[in-house]
Structures are given as C-alpha cells and as structure tokens.
C-alpha cells in the first residue's frame, strides 16, 4: 500500500513542478544594484548618479546626449539659436505621450506639449520646490517668464546673456519633462510617484529594498523599425555592502556592476588594469574615461587670514607639492590602473576639447620640487611649518600615499581625517588650507570645470573653493560665453586651464575612469564619459 501512496504523492509533485514550468517566460529583466541608495525619483532632485540613472529611464528631456557626448534630438526634434545667442527655440515632436496614470483624463497618458516644459523648467527654479537643480537656470534667466510656449510644439528659452553650454546642460535630468497634473497632485511625494515620457515606466519601489521599472510599450523612439526599449523590465536592488553586491554579480544575480572597491579590486583587476585570470572571459569588462577630476585644492587668496600663515600661500611651494607626487605609481598601485595620471589641467580626459599636449600640468619631478622649495626659502624643507591635508575617510589610502610623497621631498605633511559632511562644510567656508576634492562634470562642457576658478564664484556664492582670482582668467572666462564656435571656445578653455595650472591652486591627481561590468548575455549598452546609464537599447539573452 505504501509504495502506491508514495507514487501518488510523487506524481502530484511532478505535476506541480511541471505546471510552474509549462509557460516559458521570455520576458527579460535587467538587474542592477544601487549601493548608495536612491534618494528620490523626482528629476528636480537628480543630484547624484543613481537618481540620474533611474530618472534617465523614466523621463525624457528636450535633448539627449550620445556616447560621444554630443547633444542630439530627443523630445525636441530640432532647434534654433538666435544670432545674439540669447534665445533658444525648440520644435517638439508630436508623438510623445506620458505614461498612463489615474490622474490623467480617462487614466491614459496624454500628449506631452510645450507648456509641460514651461511647467517643468519653472519647477526647478521655484523656491517652494527648493530643487537641487536651481543652479541650472539661476543667474542665467530673468525668472519664471524666461520659458514660453507660443504653441503646443514650440518651446522658447530666453537667457540674460549668451551661454553656449546651454544645450549640453539641457541634457541634464533636472530638465526632464514632468506632467503638472501628477507633480502638483503628489507635491513632495512625486519623488515616489514619478510619471514621465521615458522608455520605462515606474512600477514599484520599496525604498532600500527593490525598485522595478517596466517597459513603456508606447515609447516614441525607434531603432530602425524596432520600437525601443528592448528590455521588459529593470529591477534594482539596494545592497549597501559592495562586496556582497559583487558576489551577487559573480553569482549572475546582477546583470551590471560598476563600483570598484578596495575589498575586491585586486580580485578582479591586475595592477595594469587587466582582468585577472580568475575572471577572464567570465563577464564583459569596460574601462573608459569618466569626467571626474580627483585633485588636491589649496586656498590661495592671501587676504584670508588662514592663508597668510601657511606656506602654501607661495606659488613655488604649491608647484613643489605638484612636482613631488608620482601619479603613475598612484594610479597603478592604488587604482589598479583604472584612471589616468593627472599630468594636464583641471579639465579631465574625455571632455570635448581636452588636450594633454596643449595644457601642461605637472609631472613627477622630485628634483624640481626640492629646487622650488629651496627657492622659496626652505632648502630640503628646513624650517618649513608642517601643512595639514584634510580628507574624508573614504580617501584615506590615497591621501596617505600623497603624504609619503611629500615627506620624501622634505615637505612635512599632517593628514587630518574628517567626516565627509563636515569636510564639505569646512571647505565651503574657506576654513581649510589644503584638502582633497573631486569635480564630476555636471554637463559635458569645459566651462563646468573652469567655473570653479571664476572669481565671481567665490564661496558661498559658487564653487570656487580655492579662492582663486586672476584678472586675465576672468576676462577670458567671460569672453568664452560670446564664442559660439566650439573649437574656438575650447581653445580659450585650454588657455584658461594653463593659467590655472601655472598658479597651481590645485594639484591634479588623476582623471577618473569608469569600470563597468556586464554579464556576457548583455548587449547594446552604452559607455560615455558622463557615466550615464542608457538602457533603452540594451538586450539580454
């Protein structure tokens, strides 16, 4: 009797199991992990990479960026710039629809029109919204009336002064188009009820656990005769421990992985930046320029009390510091060659107009460093008061390397480790002399980097954290706004970058690179120096 009963149970179970497997699921889900968490999905708060990444799937802007960092059409199919460079007129597509939402009439997403851009752009500069993207238009437009919609398919932006980088800035996720019905209804909670026109629509978000986006079946963009996107869904997890996340990638539970952390760096990469034997061929590895300059900043304005008493007020000392650091060794041993030694200017490799031959920075030259020290009155660093270098915990190993390099030429350097929040505050108040910093491009134009040295951007007004002031630089910087020709403007940028390098308010350590890992079945991903995640053309086998 017993064997029969067992048989029945067995058959029953087999049926159960086969039942589950009877309909093969061809739908593709792209999985990734956002280890830093996700603060919002509202494009008005797209201030860090992960918000930008996810907003880029849900929303569209007037224009978008291609992998060579050029501005190409998106919702705007064409545009004109007035001869004085102050009026931009955009002609919009008429086949762009918002995702469905109960707040629309009949629950169907309505057509996106020019007045939606007026609403969305005003939202960024509205003090009541307190968007983190206010800087995009603040100071560049007169106010709310700078944005106009003469008809449904024409959108006009009026600037106070010419600003050639405007188009590339409009690719920023801050400038995404949002529907007023939904954004007004949810107010602050639009952050977790995002409705846009992008290739994926929002489905589910349990904060700190899982985010799911589904394919927008009615997306307007085509790839030949194929409607984008190809993926059926995107699923993001939020594992904060990078090592755990990496192991999930090794187990193929993630399709994409991008953070290079000390705990497993040597496991994946050799010192020369090649995949280790253990992982060779196991997944696709892409290493490419990333618009991020890692640097050390020094206060240079001698009117500041804190500068008067510091040896770094002397240009020769600052140059000596720059000559004393072997960046090749730094990149090789601390970054496993992911990064390019910073031998040119502040504008990073990968930025349109970058030139390592025309902008001369500092190469490793300890002899010259010692000579400059002696000229400044401190032969071999004798009698030179120690300088304090401020860093946050994350970059301690990097800064300790720098400390060693400086000590070896006779510059006594003390390292002070701060919490990153407090350090940012100290830097923003000009209360530290010598600090580690990084500058990630907000938009792919050299102006974004040079604005850090414009004297009218002194803190707290702007990001001139080194209190750099140079009349010639300022004149060139202002003139560059009136140069619509890109190549000529880039030449001016290089000239300015050389001026900065000569005065040495910053020590360029390295230009960052991104390291993206994809599973072997993934194709169609894009790699660009803004490290923007574009998933609409991605296919998964």
């Amino acid at each position: 009797m017993l064997p029969l009963r067992l048989l029945v149970v067995l058959v029953f179970f087999t049926m159960l199991v086969s039942c589950k497997q009877s309909e093969p699921d061809n739908r593709t889900v792209f999985t990734l992990n956002l280890d830093q968490g996700l603060s919002s999905l509202d494009p008005a708060f797209a201030r860090n990479q992960y918000v930008i990444w996810m907003d880029n799937q849900i929303f569209d802007s007037l224009v978008q960026m291609n992998d060579s960092l050029e501005t190409v059409p998106s919702v705007a199919k064409s545009w004109e710039i007035s001869p004085d460079g102050k009026t931009y007129t955009f002609h919009l597509r008429n086949d762009v629809y918002f995702h469905d939402d109960p707040l629309f009439v009949g629950g169907k997403g309505r057509r996106c029109v020019a007045s939606d851009f007026v609403y969305s752009f005003r939202r960024i500069i509205d003090p009541k919204i307190a968007s983190s993207g206010g800087w995009i238009f603040n100071g560049k437009v007169s106010g709310m009336d700078a944005f106009e919609a003469p008809n449904d398919s024409t959108f006009v932006v009026k600037l106070l002064n010419p600003f050639p980088p405007l188009l590339s800035m409009l690719t920023a996720q801050y400038c995404s188009v949002v529907p007023h019905e939904v954004a007004d209804h949810y107010g602050k909670d639009f952050r977790s009820h995002p409705i846009g026109t992008g290739p994926f629509k929002f489905k589910y978000w349990k904060e700190g656990e899982i985010l799911v986006l589904l394919k927008n079946e009615k997306y307007w963009e085509m790839d030949g005769d194929q409607r984008l996107p190809y993926l059926d869904a995107i699923k993001a997890t939020f594992i904060s421990d990078k090592q755990t996340a990496f192991m999930e990638f090794v187990k193929k539970k993630l399709d994409f992985f991008n953070s290079l952390d000390g705990s497993y760096r040597d496991d994946i990469l050799t010192k020369s930046g090649k995949p280790t034997r253990k992982y060779k061929g196991k997944f696709q590895m892409i290493i490419a320029p990333y618009l991020n300059t890692e640097y050390l900043g020094m206060l240079v304005d001698t009117n500041l009390a804190i500068v008067k008493s510091s040896p770094t007020r002397d240009k020769r000392i600052r140059q000596a510091i720059s000559y004393a650091i072997d960046r090749r060794r730094l990149v090789k041993y601390l970054r496993n060659s992911v990064g390019t030694p910073g031998h040119a200017g502040f504008i990073p490799r990968g930025m349109p107009g970058f030139s390592a031959t025309e902008v001369k920075g500092y190469e490793y030259n300890p002899e010259k460093a010692k000579k400059l020290l002696a000229e400044a009155g401190y032969p071999n660093g004798k009698n030179m008061p120690p300088i304090t270098l401020q860093t946050s915990t994350t970059y301690k190993d990097l800064i300790e390397f720098v400390q060693g390099e400086l000590n070896s030429v006779g510059i006594r350097c003390v390292v002070e480790v701060n919490q990153s929040t407090s350090l940012r505050d100290l830097i923003a108040k000009n209360s530290v002399n010598f600090f580690r910093g990084s500058w990630i491009a907000d938009y792919p134009d050299g102006e974004n980097y040079l604005s850090v040295f414009y004297s009218k951007n002194y803190v707290p007004i702007g990001p001139n954290y080194t209190s750099f002031k140079n009349a010639k630089f300022d004149r060139l910087f202002e003139a560059s706004y009136y140069e619509p020709d890109n190549e000529k403007r880039y030449a001016m940028y290089r000239q300015m970058d050389n001026l900065v390098m000569e005065e040495a308010p910053v020590v360029i350590l390295y230009y960052d690179q991104l390291m993206n890992l994809y599973q072997n079945g993934i194709s169609g991903f894009s790699t660009n120096a803004q490290n923007l995640l574009i998933l609409k053309r991605v296919k998964k086998k």
Binding site: D25, R47, N48, G208, V212, L214, I239, Q243, T421
Partner: protein, 352 residues
C-alpha cells in the same frame, strides 16, 4: 502599584525629553550644513536659501528647537488652515488666535532632508523589518540557548558541557559584522546551491511581473548572525543559574520525593533559574533593535539600523532624530514593563 507605575512613566518621559534636547543641540554643534548636503557639488546662494527656508534652518537655533518640540508634541499649537491640517493630520481642540489653534495629533517627525520623504513613513517601513529580525533572533537564541544551558548544567564537566562552553565563548567573542560576513559567505555564497539561501535580501522580494513574494528564507542567515551573541550569553547564564538552583535544598527534597529527573529539571529548577535569563533577554531585546545595524548592512536587510546610519552620514537630522527617539521610546517602555513585571514575579522588589 499605580503610583509605582506612574512614577516609572514620568521618569520615562523625562528620559525622552532629555534625548530630544541632547540630540537636537548636538546636531547643531556638529559641523556640516544640511542645506549644502542636499545640493550636490555646486550649490548656489538662491538654492541654499530656498532649502534653508524649507527646512526652517534660517531661524535662530532656539526658535528651531521650539518649533521642533511643537511638531513632536501630541498637544501643540498649529496654523488653523487646511495646509497645516493636511501636514499634521490633527484634531482641533480650540482656537488660540484668529489663525492658530491648539490641536491633538500624532508626533510629527518631519521629512528627511536628503530624500524629503516623511520620517514616519521611513520608520513605519523599516521598524517592522528590524522588529521581526530582532524578535526571531531572540526566539532563536532563547530556545537554543536555554536548551544548551540546561543540557550543559545537567551534564556538568563532561564533553557536552565543555563543547557548549567553547561554543559560547566563540559566540561572545566573534563580533557580529565578522560573524555576518563569514556566515553570509559560507551559507549564502559557497554553499548556496545546497542551502538555497541568498547572501542578501529583505523579507519581501518583488517579481517584476508577479508582484510581491514573501521570502522568509532571507531571514534565516541574519537571524542566526544576530542571535549568536545573545545565544552564547544565554547558554552561560542558564548554565550557572541552573547549577546554582540544582544545589538548593528543595531540589534535593524533590529528588527524595522520587520525582522524575526531567520533571525536576524543567518544572522545579528551570522555572527558578530563568529569572536572570529573562532580565538579560529583556535588556538584550532593545539593544538588538538598535544594534542590528551591522547585520542589516551586511545582509542588505532593510531595517531601522541601516536607515539610521545612512542618515547619520548625510547629516539627515530628522531621520536620525526620529530613529533615536523611537529606540529610546522602546527602551523606556521595556524598562517600565520589566520593572513592573519584576514586582509581580519577585515580591521582594519594593513598590516605591
């Protein structure tokens, strides 16, 4: 009894008030501008002002404090208009002026500086996760711990006793983040094909097409990791308390009466031996709630600890304050309950 309880409750409220004052002013002394932290690398003056105004950071510290306490207090004074009513969700008691009224409401914990999400909704989402984790860890530790403790006391000075002892020492001395990594790596990575367990994940998984799925197996590894330390302590405590009790006269009497040894151990001895264990467990439970951070972090488990430390790094005052207040609240409640419970269990405790 009532007077005793009221006394304890008043004391608890004073503790909470102290926490509010200390944390609030501590946050204001610390360097770090919350407005700047919400704006990325290039804040401009207009945006900074807008953010400061939104969070009320443009006012003097003592005014900010008064507003904060007013937001926290269940009985408070707020604007009478509909916007304030929607924000605080209050019940109006009576008007104090033409625009303001005295209201009754739930404590309003404000919105996160970083994510602008309601702190109460962050807490509501993470607390149950942490609570379930702590509770299951505690149950796991208590059941296994008491059992092992009894077994090792009864088998005193045998190999069973010494191996239980060795296990306890290992459990106490292994920090949870270390034990967590080892456990996650062995059972969630190396042996995952056999155990079927994940290295990380929360209580619910979400299938893009099928929706939410309860994934209880994600609880197993964090539960063991978190329960390891209390388990080890419970083993030790139970063992020594049992040994103490087993040498008492009434146990000898019970033996003389001819009761079965199981009955003596579990009915007569264990009941009396559990007293110190209960104290330890109740104390541990609150600290498990607060201390599960490492475990949550390693296993990517979305709980209160993870939310708090993330917020702390970003100077996200409302979230940190909300979380600290909640943990303090739990500590206070548990202490009150334990004190009252003690008075019941042990008549020698004076009701004063």
């Amino acid at each position: 009894m009532i007077r005793y309880s009221l006394h304890k409750i008043a004391y608890g409220l004073a503790v909470l008030a102290g926490v509010v004052v200390v944390v609030f002013f501590l946050f204001n002394i610390l360097p770090g501008d919350p407005a700047r932290m919400t704006l990325g690398q290039r804040p401009d003056v207009q945006s900074l002002e807008a953010v400061r105004k939104e969070f009320g950071l443009d006012r003097p510290v003592y005014v900010q404090f008064a507003y904060y306490v007013n937001d926290l207090s269940p009985i408070a004074i707020h604007e009478s208009d509909s916007m304030a009513k929607a924000k605080y969700n209050y019940v109006k008691l009576f008007s104090v002026s033409s625009t303001k009224s005295l209201v009754l409401k739930e404590p309003y914990l404000r919105r996160s500086y970083q994510t602008r999400r309601n702190v109460s909704s962050i807490l509501a989402e993470t607390i149950p996760n942490t609570f379930i984790l702590a509770l299951t860890a505690m149950i796991f530790a208590t059941l296994i711990g008491v059992f092992l403790g009894v077994v090792s006391a009864v088998n005193r000075d045998t190999w069973i006793d010494s191996s239980a002892n060795a296990f306890a020492i290992l459990g106490i001395s292994a920090p949870s983040f270390f034990a967590g990594i080892i456990i996650a790596w062995i059972f969630g990575f190396v042996l995952s094909d056999y155990t079927g367990l994940n290295m990380s994940g929360s209580l619910y998984n979400y299938d893009p097409f099928d929706g939410e799925v309860l994934t209880l197996k994600n609880l197993i590894l964090p539960m063991i990791t978190l329960g390891l330390r209390p388990l080890a302590i419970i083993v030790q405590l139970t063992r020594s308390a049992m040994l103490d009790v087993l040498s008492q006269d009434y146990i000898r009497t019970a033996k003389a009466k001819g009761l079965s040894s199981n009955r003596i151990i579990y009915k007569h001895a264990l009941k009396n031996a559990l007293n110190p264990v209960i104290t330890a467990i109740s104390g541990w439970f609150a600290s498990l709630l607060a201390g599960s951070f490492f475990v949550e972090y390693i296993f990517g488990y979305n709980g209160l600890g993870k939310a708090t430390v993330d917020a702390l790094e970003l100077s996200d005052f409302p979230v940190v304050m909300g979380a600290i207040l909640f943990v303090a609240f739990i500590f206070v409640i548990i202490n009150i309950l334990v004190d009252i419970l003690y008075a019941f269990i042990d008549p020698r405790v004076k009701l004063a």
